[in-house]
């Protein structure tokens, strides 16, 4: 069984190699090759999963060492995989959702002449993401971490002829680089502290290490997670990343890659458990991002950017849960999985709407689409109910648990976090209802575009609707399946550990409160967007709305602080370089030149004057010799 683990990665990696190196002759079959290999990886994942289910909880983890990567005295880097319950969860999510999105892309990208390359990149992403989650040491995890960053860059900028897409790709790459630096520093710190970076020894030795070092490692890991998972302060790239094709947004920027940060924190749980300060930082980042993303999601008129704000906010929930320690690890991952279903479904729905509307993304130009696209409407609607936490659907179970866990943190901290999470739930209900109402209800508001092409909204082909239907099933049933009988908790507990905390209020009270804020959020959204017609041109809006439309001024902040600051720094450095450094260098050269110009005059070509110097020199030497003798 162990030997199958490498095949998980090998299948999509082979696909990427074949599709990217194969050239034009694969154009007609390329998408099938990519999809089949992704499906093959999923099948291997299922086989491993069934095998794992058959074993006891303690000996479920599988290890496979492929080869020694860098065998040096005192520095051992292996390419080795570890498949435990946590990794298994991710493998199924990645390959499962990944395969569905491959199928969806066949239809979505049908008219793109570079479709083969697109599938090559998707396979590359799957391979890198799988390496990330099944690596058994931080260095190999880093390989996967960079691999998904590369795939994300390539796919955001897939339509690189659009300057906005090219810029967005660069932005995502650069912002991620800041986070990646955090991860590399964390790995170096681990090596100097523990002498290794394999999960087992590092996480097992946290008891004998000083808290200061663990805090440093934890904060660096948090920086890494912030970059990859678009958390404040490295969140600015996710909104622009929506320039990529919609399947990419669904797979990479909603379901899988952006959750890598959550995986990293949960995987490194032992470090965070032993470093309360780092854990507090994680909680704060999660809570801030949860509100930040939700507020941004409320103001965006671009359907994908509204969903991107929502993704940011939901990952904020996961990071918050992961920061709660053993109370929250399991629920962070559970929300991650259910979010993977419903958010991927929502994005595919958004893609389907765009497909029928000539790639229009402005929700103010949609309206009344439910009769034109019934399947998209129903699947999107189920995803919507799941994300707002409608009772019985996936989001209800997973989000409710996170809110409970936040209260169970105890003390003032617990009350603050719990309230933030509740507020987030209300805002989530508001912005998702807004998206729903603007897109599928009300009057139809679309108009002919500049070329006079009127959109003819129509249902998407089967290759696109079937993945949406399957994901809708996941959005509806996954939460219940996980929660009834605490199945998910029992499954993950051997890896992450679990504690109940001290809840100040009963679970029923929290659920009731969640329901109340949910109803309030939906009611406000209905009052604003359902009751009266929606203007096609966005009204000016309040100060907060205008700020939220500009992503709460994140880019302005970055521009003023980082770009301007950087420019000032470089300008002053250039000034120092020109005056001081160049001054010294040029001054040396000039004085040498002047001196040699003077000395050159001695070289006058008269043999007799040379003879004088020789005689003079000899006389001086002899005089000196005699003088020394005399002394």
């Amino acid at each position: 069984m162990e030997n199958l683990i490498a095949l998980l990665v090998a299948a999509p990696l082979l696909g990427a190699a074949v599709l990217l190196c194969g050239g034009r002759r694969l154009d007609r079959a390329g998408h099938w090759v990519g999809t089949l290999l992704a499906a093959a990886s999923f099948v291997i994942g299922v086989v491993l999963f069934l095998d794992m289910l058959g074993k006891g909880a303690e000996d479920r983890a599988l290890h496979q060492k492929l080869f020694s990567w860098i065998p040096v005295e005192g520095f051992q880097a292996d390419v080795a995989f570890q498949l435990d319950q946590l990794s298994m969860t991710f493998v199924l999510l990645i390959t499962g959702v990944g395969t569905l999105i491959h199928i969806y892309s066949i239809g979505y990208m049908a008219h793109d002449e570079r479709r083969r390359r697109f599938f090559g990149y998707l396979n590359l992403f799957l391979a890198a993401m799988l390496i990330l989650v099944i690596a058994d040491n931080y260095l190999l995890l880093y390989v996967g971490w960079e691999g998904v960053g590369l795939a994300s860059y390539l796919l955001i900028g897939f339509w690189q002829h659009k300057p906005s897409a090219a810029t967005a790709a660069k932005k995502a790459f650069l912002v991620n680089r800041v986070g990646d630096m955090g991860l590399s520093i964390a790995i170096m710190l681990m090596f100097t502290t523990f002498g290794t970076f394999a999960f087992g020894p590092v996480l097992g030795a946290t008891g004998q290490t000083s808290e200061g070092k663990l805090t440093a490692i934890g904060l660096m890991l948090l920086l890494a997670a912030c970059g990859k998972s678009a958390q404040v302060p490295l969140q600015s790239w996710l909104g622009d990343a929506m320039e990529g094709p919609t399947p990419v947004s669904a797979l990479i920027h909603a379901a899988t890659m952006v959750t890598a940060g959550v995986y990293l924190i949960v995987r490194s749980g032992a470090i965070f458990n032993a470093a309360p300060d780092a854990q507090l930082a994680v909680v704060v980042v999660g809570a801030v991002t949860l509100l930040f993303g939700a507020i941004v999601g409320c103001a965006k008129d671009d359907i994908k950017k509204a969903l991107a704000g929502s993704t940011m906010s939901q990952i904020g929930y996961m990071i918050l849960a992961a920061g709660l320690g053993p109370i929250g690890y399991v629920f962070a991952i559970m929300h991650l999985v259910t979010h993977g279903f419903f958010k991927a479904g929502l994005f595919l729905g958004a893609g389907s709407v765009m497909h029928g509307m000539n790639d229009e993304v402005d929700m103010r130009k949609f309206g009344g689409l439910r009769t034109y696209m019934p399947v998209t409407f129903i699947t999107f609607g189920l995803g919507y109910l799941a994300i707002i936490g409608f009772p019985g659907l996936s989001g209800f179970f997973s989000k409710d648990k996170i809110i409970e866990a936040a209260f169970a943190k105890g003390g003032a901290e617990g009350w603050i976090l719990g309230s933030v999470a509740l507020l987030g739930a209300a805002i989530t209900a508001f912005y998702m209802t807004r998206v729903m109402l603007l897109t599928f209800f009300g009057e139809k508001r679309w108009q002919p575009d500049a070329q006079g092409n009127e959109p003819h909204p129509h249902e998407s082909p089967k290759s696109m609707t079937i993945p949406m239907i399957i994901l809708a099933f996941g959005s509806v049933f996954a939460g219940g399946l996980f929660s009834i009988g605490d199945r998910f908790l029992n499954w993950l507990e051997p890896v992450t550990g679990h504690s109940h905390g001290h809840a100040p209020v009963s679970a029923a009270t929290v659920t009731a409160a969640t329901m109340v804020v949910l109803v309030i959020g939906v009611a406000i959204a209905w009052a604003m967007y359902g009751r009266k017609p929606v203007p096609v041109v966005a009204p000016r809006g309040s100060l907060l709305t205008r700020a939220a439309r500009r992503d709460l001024l994140q880019d302005d902040f970055n521009h003023v602080v980082l770009v301007r600051g950087g420019e000032h720094l470089t300008r002053s450095l250039v000034y120092v370089d020109h005056t001081l450094v160049d001054g010294v260098v040029n001054g040396t050269a000039a004085s040498m030149g002047g001196l040699s110009g003077r000395l050159r005059k001695l070289q006058n070509g008269y043999a007799r004057s040379y003879a004088v110097s020789m005689f003079g020199g000899t006389a001086v030497v002899i005089a000196a010799t005699l003088l020394m003798r005399a002394v």
Binding site: N604, G605, Y606, A607
Partner: protein, 99 residues
């Protein structure tokens, strides 16, 4: 006669030669002055040989004479060819080796 007197003579001849080399412009005269210095050295060698009672100095003097003879051959040839091409034997006229 006290051999030290020969040393004084040698020093005198050397000084005359050196002064000639530095002062005179005519290449032939400069050349003769160089020979004068060489012979002053020979005289000093021979004197020291006599004073110390061994033959080393005298042998060196023979060497010097041979070298001087060879030098005269080459040097005069150069002077003659310079004179032919430039119609002047002044050392100051041949001052092309400068920047």
């Amino acid at each position: 006669m006290n051999p030290v007197n020969y040393l004084y003579l040698a020093a005198l001849l050397f000084t005359i030669g050196a002064a000639g080399v530095l002062i005179r412009r005519n290449a032939i005269v400069v050349f003769m002055c160089v020979e004068l210095m060489l012979n002053a050295c020979n005289l000093a060698f021979v004197t020291f040989s006599r004073m110390h009672g061994n033959l080393d100095g005298q042998i060196i003097a023979f060497f010097t004479m041979v070298v001087a003879a060879a030098e005269v051959v080459v040097g005069l040839a150069i002077i003659v060819s310079v004179f032919r091409s430039r119609h002047s034997a002044s050392v100051d006229d041949a001052s092309l080796m400068k920047l």
